[in-house]
Amino acid sequence: MQDQPSAIELVEAVTEFIRNHAMPQLQGHAAFHARVAANALDIVKREMEIGPEAAAGELARLRALLARDGTMEELNRELCVRIEKGELTLDTPGLKDHLWETTLTKVAIDQPKYSGYRRALEESGQGK
């Protein structure tokens, strides 16, 4: 067990440093890139918070859909092949739900402010 602060707390501290202390002293391109860097750390933090449980769920759904075991990447590659061949379609039980759940989790990590994501949450009944 690592000592405190946690990795998430460290990432938060670095993000705050960039936003509140470094950025105000920067101009032009450097200020822009500092903002981008802080946004990238937000992604890291959300992935650390949401990622592990979401990945376990995604892997379980992939195993059920494809009726086999494998790594996350192997199973996603096989899912791609079977969708391309038309063996799995939106009418296949579980596929639409799997793709929606996986997609919503990905954007929850990458960009939870995205308009399409917020609207999809409303449409799924999870909207705030």
């Binding site: 981008v36 899912l79 791609c80 969708i83 391309e84 793709l99 990905k106 954007v107 990590i109 999809a120």
Partner: protein, 338 residues
Amino acid sequence: MGAEANPIAAPLAEVARKHIDGATGIAGLKRLSGGASQEIWSFDATTSDGAVPLILRRAPGGVRDTGRSGTAVALETEAELIRLAGAAGVPVPPVRHVLTEEDGIGQGFVMDRIPGETLARKILRDEEFAEARPKLARQCGEVIARLHKIDKATLPQLRVATGKDEVEQYFQTYKQLDYPHPVFELAFRWLRDNAPPDTAELTLVHGDFRNGNLMIGPDGLRAVLDWEIAHVGDPMADLSWICINPWRFGNIDMPVGGFGTREDLFEGYEAGGGDKVDPARVKFWEVLGTLKWGVMCMGMASAFLQGDRSVERATIGRRSSETEVDLMRLLAPLKGTE
């Protein structure tokens, strides 16, 4: 960099003296950002009657870049298309001069610098554009109709790409990037199953008609810029690309560039002489456009992993998932929307 230190300053001043009435030299030469495959320079020709605001679009370093995207037209072709579009009533910056070898600054052309704004966030939010916004979608429709009506016999040599061609082109790019995206596979499959018939009449297509390439003033649309990926294709492509969600900049209920409705866009298109809009073909192109942006995001991730260590590029790579949400909303809606 001062104008004196810039190696293109002296030859460009000579171009101005030869081709701009009354010009004695140039001032205010500066490189504008944007344009990975082109350099864009802003400058004024100085005359006794005042400054003439101009833009130079030039191949990087003056020479045609062999890494230039395979879909981009040559700068001379772009200049010719802008002239044809202007003659057809499309608002464009008049081309003043196409560079020749004797000008000594490589390939490119000089055109007027039209005042206005291209940044979507300002156009969609600033008070200055409040009166323009409700008019823009209709204006876009009218202007797109005019460019589609340009007689194909008068066009320079251009790439021809049908819907099916573009699906296969992006599928190849996606496969080369070699990272699994089940939602993109679903979209490619849907596009193959729903491609419009090849009998659809092909026209000149701008190819990148969207926020960022439209110069907007308080009075509305002033100029259509950036004709470098113009080609011959399905006219519905231009009516869809401006409607994909990334170009709405958060205004999700204003499908046309975040400022207008499809009804206004299509009305303008038909009033401007365009053919009757086919909603099924528009949807095909909206799915394809969304997917294209997603594949471009994957390309950013790939460039980052291959050594371009820009954090900006890396984070754009993480925007593929936004297009996956958009594709899922188009292809597998949770409610009966869109």
